[in-house]
Symmetry: C2
Subunit: 193 residues, 2 copies
């Protein structure tokens, strides 16, 4: 398998962590978004959406969208709950991540850390919705060590990627103690640093 | 099953269409976003994210996020391809829908049709990205009658919901003839009007 990814992108790291956890071998092809490497004709032939990550599976077929890729790689593994309801809750968190978390938490980080935008120039909406997302996670972790049950799942892989970097975008993780404890728990379960 | 949904919301209609296609019985509880019905304490106890649709399954447990709900309802049905790669491509389209299509195509429609915002006052980014999304679909339908293979799947359910309403937000569907033909094909396959 070939993984086209940018090492600064949480979406790309999700794929790396999942493959590593599953012991899947792959070639990592560094694809730097800031150098427009995801907009070349070669890359667009692989993923017409022009987004990283994208993979070429062992049989030569392409696949894109971080959460679709990790769901495919992890089919039948311990990263996907066997129980149908827990599996559905895992998917609920994963779709929520792309709609209600990534556009604020990841975008704030990218703008501030990698584009040099001052915190004061970010849209207030980004902070309001990013804080709401972190609070939603804090509440979701009230009764459960992981997001979709008692064991680490792809919901945790998907959400930890940018949550652990949230301070780069001006969010204060100390305000969300259950989230802080969960980040450490997920990092340990996935063996990532 | 109880479906809490707003009839003007494509995300909610996805759940209705899937349940109808599968012959699942349900009670539809109209939950009007414009009247803040998704922000009441009762609703927030059901879905802390404050978004419709949300369902209460037959066993009394809640589930949210349109695409997670339809994936759960349709498990084992013809709406999810049996082939692992086609299933992964279906998921790729579904995650792409929430990240790269809904925030432009659905948001433009909502602002213009339901909030009364003049087309000229929408952010130009909404049009640029919305048009890119429609072109991505046009290209994706070049060789295939449906988005994830030869049969209708949840990818089509997820994407048709707002694509068929795109003109309400100022997009011109006639510029995307394969998309227009696909909308009719999906409407027929799902028996929706």
């Amino acid at each position: 398998m070939k993984i086209y990814g940018d090492s600064i992108s949480g979406n790309c790291l999700k794929v790396k962590w999942t493959a590593d956890f599953l012991g899947r071998s792959y070639e990592w092809i560094e694809t730097e978004v800031l150098k427009s490497a995801s907009r070349t004709p070669e890359f667009l032939a692989l993923n017409p959406a022009g987004q990283v990550p994208a993979v070429i599976l062992d049989d030569g077929r392409p696949l894109a969208q971080s959460n679709a890729i990790i769901l495919h790689l992890a089919e039948g593994s311990a990263l996907i709950p066997a129980d149908a309801y827990e599996r559905a809750r895992m998917l609920e968190w994963m779709f929520w991540e792309q709609y209600s978390h990534e556009p604020y938490i990841a975008v704030a980080r990218f703008q501030v850390r990698f584009k040099g935008v001052p915190l004061t120039e970010l849209e207030p909406k980004i902070f309001d919705r990013g804080k709401a997302a972190l609070q939603r996670m804090e509440d979701g972790l009230a009764d459960s060590p992981f997001l979709a049950g008692d064991r680490v799942s792809l919901a945790d892989v998907a959400l930890v990627a940018y949550t652990r970097e949230a301070e780069d975008g001006g969010f204060r993780l100390a305000d969300y103690p259950k989230v802080v404890a969960w980040i450490a728990r997920v990092e340990q379960a996935l063996n990532i640093t």
